[in-house]
Amino acid sequence: AQSVTQLDSQVPVFEEAPVELRCNYSSSVSVYLFWYVQYPNQGLQLLLKYLSGSTLVKGINGFEAEFNKSQTSFHLRKPSVHISDTAEYFCAVSGKGAQKLVFGQGTRLTINP
Protein backbone atom coordinates (compact mmCIF):
# COMPACT_ATOMS: atom_id res chain seq x y z
CA ALA A 1 0.00 0.00 0.00
CA GLN A 2 1.05 3.58 -0.57
CA SER A 3 0.49 6.83 1.29
CA VAL A 4 1.31 10.47 0.58
CA THR A 5 1.94 13.32 2.97
CA GLN A 6 1.88 16.92 1.82
CA LEU A 7 3.56 18.79 4.60
CA ASP A 8 1.93 22.17 4.05
CA SER A 9 -1.81 22.69 3.74
CA GLN A 10 -1.35 26.31 2.64
CA VAL A 11 1.59 28.18 1.15
CA PRO A 12 1.38 31.95 0.63
CA VAL A 13 4.06 33.56 -1.52
CA PHE A 14 4.61 36.84 -3.26
CA GLU A 15 4.42 37.11 -7.02
CA GLU A 16 7.74 36.39 -8.77
CA ALA A 17 9.12 34.66 -5.69
CA PRO A 18 10.26 31.03 -5.80
CA VAL A 19 8.11 28.31 -4.26
CA GLU A 20 8.54 24.72 -3.10
CA LEU A 21 5.62 22.46 -2.28
CA ARG A 22 6.67 19.44 -0.27
CA CYS A 23 5.56 15.87 -0.77
CA ASN A 24 6.70 12.70 0.98
CA TYR A 25 5.44 9.21 0.22
CA SER A 26 5.68 5.74 1.63
CA SER A 27 5.45 2.49 -0.27
CA SER A 28 6.58 -1.09 0.00
CA VAL A 29 7.02 -1.32 -3.78
CA SER A 30 8.50 0.84 -6.53
CA VAL A 31 6.31 3.77 -7.44
CA TYR A 32 5.32 6.30 -10.02
CA LEU A 33 4.87 9.85 -8.75
CA PHE A 34 2.63 12.67 -9.96
CA TRP A 35 1.72 16.26 -9.29
CA TYR A 36 -1.77 17.50 -10.23
CA VAL A 37 -3.12 21.04 -10.12
CA GLN A 38 -6.72 22.05 -9.54
CA TYR A 39 -7.58 25.60 -10.54
CA PRO A 40 -10.76 27.12 -9.08
CA ASN A 41 -13.87 25.51 -10.56
CA GLN A 42 -11.83 23.22 -12.82
CA GLY A 43 -10.92 19.56 -12.88
CA LEU A 44 -7.58 18.09 -11.87
CA GLN A 45 -4.85 18.59 -14.46
CA LEU A 46 -1.55 16.72 -14.63
CA LEU A 47 1.47 18.99 -14.04
CA LEU A 48 4.21 16.39 -14.27
CA LYS A 49 5.06 12.79 -13.53
CA TYR A 50 8.02 10.63 -12.65
CA LEU A 51 8.03 7.12 -14.08
CA SER A 52 11.72 6.29 -14.41
CA GLY A 53 15.00 7.75 -15.61
CA SER A 54 16.16 11.24 -14.69
CA THR A 55 15.10 12.20 -11.19
CA LEU A 56 14.50 15.82 -12.21
CA VAL A 57 11.20 16.07 -14.02
CA LYS A 58 9.97 19.14 -15.85
CA GLY A 59 6.30 19.84 -16.32
CA ILE A 60 3.94 22.44 -17.66
CA ASN A 61 3.84 26.09 -16.65
CA GLY A 62 7.48 26.15 -15.56
CA PHE A 63 7.11 23.65 -12.72
CA GLU A 64 9.63 20.93 -11.95
CA ALA A 65 9.99 18.23 -9.33
CA GLU A 66 12.80 16.06 -8.08
CA PHE A 67 12.43 12.44 -7.09
CA ASN A 68 14.58 11.57 -4.08
CA LYS A 69 14.36 7.86 -3.37
CA SER A 70 16.44 7.92 -0.20
CA GLN A 71 14.26 10.61 1.34
CA THR A 72 11.06 9.28 -0.28
CA SER A 73 10.26 12.78 -1.46
CA PHE A 74 8.96 14.39 -4.62
CA HIS A 75 8.96 18.13 -3.96
CA LEU A 76 7.50 20.53 -6.53
CA ARG A 77 9.30 23.78 -7.33
CA LYS A 78 8.94 26.86 -9.48
CA PRO A 79 11.60 29.60 -9.59
CA SER A 80 9.16 32.48 -10.09
CA VAL A 81 5.41 32.25 -9.52
CA HIS A 82 2.59 34.23 -11.11
CA ILE A 83 -0.86 35.18 -9.93
CA SER A 84 -2.23 32.56 -12.34
CA ASP A 85 -0.50 29.80 -10.34
CA THR A 86 -3.02 30.26 -7.53
CA ALA A 87 -4.55 26.80 -7.18
CA GLU A 88 -4.63 23.62 -5.14
CA TYR A 89 -1.77 21.23 -5.80
CA PHE A 90 -1.96 17.50 -5.19
CA CYS A 91 0.87 15.00 -5.01
CA ALA A 92 -0.05 11.42 -5.93
CA VAL A 93 1.61 8.02 -6.06
CA SER A 94 0.82 4.71 -7.68
CA GLY A 95 2.55 1.38 -7.35
CA LYS A 96 4.33 0.34 -10.52
CA GLY A 97 1.89 -1.73 -12.53
CA ALA A 98 -1.07 -0.39 -10.56
CA GLN A 99 -3.72 1.86 -11.99
CA LYS A 100 -5.12 3.69 -9.00
CA LEU A 101 -3.63 6.88 -7.63
CA VAL A 102 -3.20 7.64 -3.94
CA PHE A 103 -3.39 11.39 -3.35
CA GLY A 104 -2.09 13.64 -0.64
CA GLN A 105 -4.38 16.11 1.09
CA GLY A 106 -3.36 18.98 -1.14
CA THR A 107 -1.52 22.28 -0.74
CA ARG A 108 -3.29 25.53 -1.43
CA LEU A 109 -0.89 27.94 -3.13
CA THR A 110 -1.83 31.58 -2.78
CA ILE A 111 0.06 34.23 -4.72
CA ASN A 112 0.07 37.74 -3.30
CA PRO A 113 0.85 40.72 -5.55
Binding site: L44, K49, K96, K100, L101, V102
Partner: protein
Protein backbone atom coordinates in the same frame (compact mmCIF):
# COMPACT_ATOMS: atom_id res chain seq x y z
CA UNK B 1 -15.84 14.51 -26.64
CA UNK B 2 -13.33 17.16 -25.78
CA UNK B 3 -12.96 16.05 -22.20
CA UNK B 4 -14.45 13.93 -19.44
CA UNK B 5 -18.02 15.02 -18.83
CA UNK B 6 -19.82 14.48 -15.54
CA UNK B 7 -23.48 15.07 -14.88
CA UNK B 8 -25.06 16.54 -12.94
CA UNK B 9 -22.54 19.11 -11.75
CA UNK B 10 -24.46 19.48 -8.50
CA UNK B 11 -26.90 17.13 -6.79
CA UNK B 12 -28.78 17.70 -3.56
CA UNK B 13 -30.65 14.74 -2.16
CA UNK B 14 -32.35 13.77 1.04
CA UNK B 15 -30.88 11.24 3.41
CA UNK B 16 -32.01 7.76 2.50
CA UNK B 17 -32.60 8.48 -1.17
CA UNK B 18 -30.95 6.80 -4.16
CA UNK B 19 -28.70 8.75 -6.54
CA UNK B 20 -26.95 8.11 -9.82
CA UNK B 21 -23.93 10.04 -11.03
CA UNK B 22 -22.92 9.83 -14.67
CA UNK B 23 -19.50 9.96 -16.31
CA UNK B 24 -18.89 10.26 -20.04
CA UNK B 25 -15.19 9.58 -20.71
CA UNK B 26 -13.00 10.80 -23.53
CA UNK B 27 -13.79 8.89 -26.70
CA UNK B 28 -11.52 5.89 -27.12
CA UNK B 29 -10.40 5.75 -23.52
CA UNK B 30 -10.71 2.20 -22.25
CA UNK B 31 -9.86 2.90 -18.62
CA UNK B 32 -12.23 4.77 -16.32
CA UNK B 33 -11.83 5.70 -12.66
CA UNK B 34 -14.06 7.05 -9.93
CA UNK B 35 -12.66 9.03 -7.01
CA UNK B 36 -14.32 10.82 -4.10
CA UNK B 37 -13.03 14.10 -2.70
CA UNK B 38 -14.28 15.21 0.68
CA UNK B 39 -13.88 18.80 1.83
CA UNK B 40 -10.26 19.63 2.56
CA UNK B 41 -9.01 16.24 1.44
CA UNK B 42 -7.35 14.80 -1.62
CA UNK B 43 -9.24 12.53 -3.99
CA UNK B 44 -9.79 9.00 -2.72
CA UNK B 45 -9.94 6.05 -5.12
CA UNK B 46 -13.24 4.22 -5.43
CA UNK B 47 -13.20 1.96 -8.48
CA UNK B 48 -11.39 1.35 -11.77
CA UNK B 49 -12.83 -0.08 -14.98
CA UNK B 50 -10.90 -1.54 -17.87
CA UNK B 51 -13.47 -1.82 -20.63
CA UNK B 52 -16.75 -3.05 -19.22
CA UNK B 53 -15.36 -4.83 -16.21
CA UNK B 54 -14.44 -3.48 -12.80
CA UNK B 55 -10.77 -4.34 -12.51
CA UNK B 56 -10.40 -2.92 -9.01
CA UNK B 57 -13.30 -1.97 -6.74
CA UNK B 58 -11.30 -2.03 -3.53
CA UNK B 59 -12.07 1.61 -2.77
CA UNK B 60 -15.85 1.33 -2.62
CA UNK B 61 -16.65 2.09 1.04
CA UNK B 62 -19.56 -0.32 1.47
CA UNK B 63 -22.28 -2.17 -0.41
CA UNK B 64 -24.40 0.96 -0.81
CA UNK B 65 -22.00 2.02 -3.54
CA UNK B 66 -22.05 0.38 -6.95
CA UNK B 67 -20.77 1.37 -10.39
CA UNK B 68 -21.40 0.05 -13.87
CA UNK B 69 -20.00 0.57 -17.34
CA UNK B 70 -22.14 -1.73 -19.50
CA UNK B 71 -20.84 -0.78 -22.94
CA UNK B 72 -17.31 0.17 -22.02
CA UNK B 73 -17.93 3.90 -22.37
CA UNK B 74 -20.33 5.80 -20.09
CA UNK B 75 -20.24 4.85 -16.43
CA UNK B 76 -22.76 5.37 -13.68
CA UNK B 77 -21.95 5.49 -9.99
CA UNK B 78 -24.96 4.48 -7.92
CA UNK B 79 -25.41 5.20 -4.24
CA UNK B 80 -28.26 3.64 -2.30
CA UNK B 81 -29.72 4.87 1.00
CA UNK B 82 -27.55 7.97 0.97
CA UNK B 83 -26.10 9.24 4.22
CA UNK B 84 -24.89 12.70 5.14
CA UNK B 85 -21.34 11.34 5.20
CA UNK B 86 -21.62 10.61 1.48
CA UNK B 87 -21.54 14.34 0.77
CA UNK B 88 -18.46 15.01 -1.35
CA UNK B 89 -17.30 15.79 -4.86
CA UNK B 90 -17.29 12.64 -6.98
CA UNK B 91 -14.60 12.73 -9.67
CA UNK B 92 -14.37 10.64 -12.78
CA UNK B 93 -11.23 10.18 -14.87
CA UNK B 94 -10.40 8.28 -18.03
CA UNK B 95 -7.24 7.18 -19.80
CA UNK B 96 -6.08 5.13 -22.75
CA UNK B 97 -5.16 2.38 -20.32
CA UNK B 98 -1.73 1.04 -19.51
CA UNK B 99 0.41 2.12 -16.62
CA UNK B 100 2.11 5.04 -18.33
CA UNK B 101 -0.93 6.81 -19.70
CA UNK B 102 -2.24 10.04 -18.28
CA UNK B 103 -5.62 10.10 -16.54
CA UNK B 104 -7.83 13.04 -17.51
CA UNK B 105 -10.28 14.21 -14.87
CA UNK B 106 -13.76 15.64 -15.18
CA UNK B 107 -14.93 18.60 -13.12
CA UNK B 108 -16.82 16.38 -10.74
CA UNK B 109 -20.30 16.09 -9.31
CA UNK B 110 -20.86 17.81 -5.98
CA UNK B 111 -23.22 15.62 -3.96
CA UNK B 112 -24.91 17.07 -0.91
CA UNK B 113 -27.01 14.83 1.30
CA UNK B 114 -29.35 16.78 3.58
Amino acid sequence: GAGVSQTPSNKVTEKGKYVELRCDPISGHTALYWYRQSLGQGPEFLIYFQGTGAADDSGLPNDRFFAVRPEGSVSTLKIQRTERGDSAVYLCASSLGGVNTEAFFGQGTRLTVV
